[in-house]
């Protein structure tokens, strides 16, 4: 079960060396620097290992909209809840998703009233449930970025049973980066991009982005020293006035990505303008299932319409926290009305949600 190189990637001595270089380069740059990551797992690593406490105060690392659970619109959850109320239906989804508050109730609350809502580890488990329960409709509530899309695409391609369908709420990362660059007040100096997304899509979509917006970008792994090295690589680019996409996670990410997975995505899904919770509609920000596979599209199979939904409840600042405009402890509900037990907004739910991570690992003033 050994992961090769894990010792170095989590070594305190190695971290010390990287921090030393970071401190030297920030001195050369001579001004405060704002970096942003767009991945809940990166925020998790940064907070879990206390990396911000190691960085010089001139470097600010913001948390962007990278938690797939958080940016899933309330209307999609409402849809799953409505379908889950039917007697003949089993709703399946990933663990984090069931606790996310929606317009009225969450899937966990629906489950507690007796509905059949099950946590699965992947769509293949949902297919298995569908085969074991031919008299029931088994709906997989599919969320996530490019990392999870191919899994669902593969199952849809592989002739699943006719009592299986998918609520497709997938989103795409590169579109979100562009949106962030258009928010002029953010003034980001560099992006830490998610390694697992790149494993699928490769470097190309990012290269176009970093060239187009003239912004440094590093594809990063998820161990503490991956993130520290990525910060160092970004600072070097800032100092040298470069704007490339560099691959720190080269032990996993190939420049061309995973071609087979890309083909599956292309074949089963098509990109559309899509709403992100609290952020708004993003051009090419999401996916729908192509006409060819419509028999597995729960949207078309059941025609559930959600008239009115509520993404951000009154007082909640998730929409500002998700784009790095506010830190969780600057929200007036944080640790008061809003806690992981009684989350008001979506960012307080998942272990990848910025507020939930701050609640777990940080004090109120971030000291």
């Amino acid at each position: 079960m050994d992961i090769p190189g894990l010792d170095i990637l989590r070594s305190g001595k190695f971290a010390e060396k990287v921090i030393k270089s970071i401190k030297e380069i920030i001195k050369e740059i001579g001004k405060p620097i704002k970096l942003m990551h767009v991945c809940g797992t990166h925020e998790h690593t940064i907070s879990k290992y206390g990396l911000r406490s190691l960085l010089p105060k001139e470097i600010e690392v913001l948390s962007g909209p990278g938690c797939p659970v958080c940016i899933c619109p309330a209307a999609d959850i409402d849809k799953a809840v409505e379908l889950g109320k039917r007697d003949d239906t089993i709703i399946t989804t990933f663990g984090d998703m069931i606790r996310v508050p929606a317009t009225n109730i969450s899937l966990a609350e629906l489950k507690a009233t007796g509905a059949d809502v099950r946590i699965v580890y992947g769509p293949n488990d949902a297919i298995k449930i569908a085969k074991e329960n031919p008299e029931k409709e088994v709906i997989f509530f599919a969320i996530g970025f490019e990392t999870t899309v191919p899994l669902i695409g593969f199952e849809i391609q592989s002739k699943p049973p006719s009592n299986f369908s998918v609520i497709c709420a997938h989103k795409l990362i590169p579109a979100a980066l562009e949106l962030l660059m258009s928010q002029s007040q953010l003034k980001i100096d560099g992006f830490i991009s998610p390694g697992h997304v790149s494993t699928i899509i490769g470097l190309k979509p990012y290269e176009i982005f970093s060239q187009g917006y003239r912004i440094p970008n590093v594809i990063s792994g998820f161990e503490p020293n991956d993130v520290l090295l990525s910060i160092l690589m970004l600072l070097k680019q800032v100092r040298d006035k470069k704007h490339d996409t560099i691959n720190e996670y080269s032990r996993v990410v190939k420049p061309e990505g995973n071609i087979i997975a890309q083909k599956i995505i292309e074949e089963v899904f098509e990109p559309v303008s899509s709403p992100w919770r609290g952020i708004g509609r993003i051009n090419d920000g999401g996916l729908i299932i192509r006409e060819k596979y419509k028999e597995f599209d729960a949207d078309k199979k059941f025609d559930i319409k959600i008239e009115k939904s509520l993404d951000i409840p009154p007082g909640c600042s998730c929409h500002l926290i998700m784009v790095g405009k506010l830190y969780p402890y600057e929200c007036k509900l944080f640790r008061k009305e809003c806690t992981p037990i009684h989350p008001v907004g979506p960012c307080m739910v998942s272990m990848e949600g910025t507020c939930s991570i701050y609640y777990k690992y940080h004090s109120d003033d971030n000291n």
Binding site: G50, K85, G144
Partner: protein, 350 residues
């Protein structure tokens, strides 16, 4: 089912998982109990591992613990429900600094449960009781209609005895104390998760389920001299729940060095894969001790001399500043909080 009530006003699974929600549930149940203690002993309000009944005119007091045991699957790598129910009960008594004497056992069985399965579980109970040198002195059985419970539940009461002057309590930790952990964390919960259907993780990892009786024997003099201020077996909620509980009840802060917290490679790998934190995952054969710093090294050596404590380490210390909080110095040198776990650990998505 079309008339399901849309309300969050029901008990959820997470209410039983050892985190903040469970605390809320316990408070809800216990708040109106009319008499909460006997002879000024430890009662239900302390929410410790067990309660005490001081015997008037004697030096001794009776220690009583209550435990309900459910587990899925019933048989898991390293034990079964029978072993678990005896170990869990005996360990709770020992964590109060008491000598285990006897237990009672209530077995609730689902209609249709097979006799040969029951036999295996009962014989594991008996074997473990013999090892622990503890009598099973009373019990009860109930059979419930199929579908009203899942296979089998065992509820036990543990009875022990100790000197009145021994004070090993969650609220008794003092500034300067050292924290000792007797072995690697997360083995039990991780082995169980890996053995569950649907995960397809093959590993040689076993539950750490074991009796902590050896600890009681080697530490008897330290217990009697009150060098040990608190003991706790970090079951549901893992060491994160146990340490936070201590920090709050003793009004101190705990400073843990991640580098010194023993975790098996398999546990790290499986938890990384599932997005779980080993600090939140249950152990069934480990103990945390808060001890007088003068005797910490000596106590550590004694623990290391036992079969169950070979991997013991001093993992941290107690301070007065920032009370009610647990801090962790991470392996790369950063500092962060360790928070009370919320509820049942849920594997993540990506």
């Amino acid at each position: 089912m079309s008339l399901k009530k849309e309300s969050s006003n029901v008990i959820r699974l997470a209410h039983g998982a050892g985190g903040i929600l469970q605390e809320e549930l316990i408070k809800f149940i216990t708040k109106d109990i009319p008499f909460k203690k006997v002879n000024n002993g430890i009662g239900v309000e302390e929410l410790d591992d067990g309660a005490t009944i001081p015997l008037i005119n004697y030096e001794k007091e009776i220690v009583i613990t209550a435990d309900g045991h459910t587990i899925y699957p019933l048989f898991f790598p390293g034990g079964d429900l029978g072993t678990l129910s005896v170990c869990g009960t005996v360990n709770d008594i020992i964590m109060m600094g008491a000598e285990p004497l006897a237990l009672t056992s209530m077995i609730i069985i689902e209609e249709g449960f097979e006799f040969n399965q029951l036999e295996k579980i009962v014989s594991s109970m008996n074997a473990m009781a013999e090892k622990a040198n503890i009598a099973i002195i009373a019990g009860d059985t109930k059979v419930m209609p199929r579908g009203t419970l899942n296979e089998l539940i065992i509820a036990t009461t543990g009875i022990g005895i100790k000197d009145k002057n021994i004070k090993i309590l969650d609220n008794n930790i003092k500034t300067g104390d050292k924290i000792i952990l007797t072995g690697s964390i997360g083995d039990h919960g991780t082995a169980l998760m890996a053995s569950r259907e649907g995960l397809n993780i093959s590993t040689d990892l076993k539950s750490d389920l074991s009796l902590l009786l050896e600890l009681y024997h080697v530490l008897k003099s330290d217990i009697n001299n009150n060098y040990i201020h608190a003991m706790k077996d970090p079951t549901r909620g893992g060491i994160a729940a146990a340490l936070n509980d201590w920090a709050v009840k003793s009004n101190i802060s705990l400073w843990i060095e991640e580098e010194n917290v023993p975790i098996k490679k398999q546990v790290t790998a499986i938890c990384d894969m599932l997005g779980l934190d080993p600090y939140n995952i249950a152990c069934e054969g480990r103990a945390l001790l808060a001890v007088d710093p003068k005797y910490a090294q000596n106590i550590l050596e004694k623990i290391k001399s036992t079969q169950i404590g070979r991997g013991a380490q001093i993992i941290g210390k107690v301070k007065a500043d920032n009370p009610k909080r647990v801090f962790l110095k991470t392996i790369v040198g950063g500092t962060r909080f360790v928070d009370m776990p919320l509820g049942e650990p849920i594997p993540r998505i990506c």
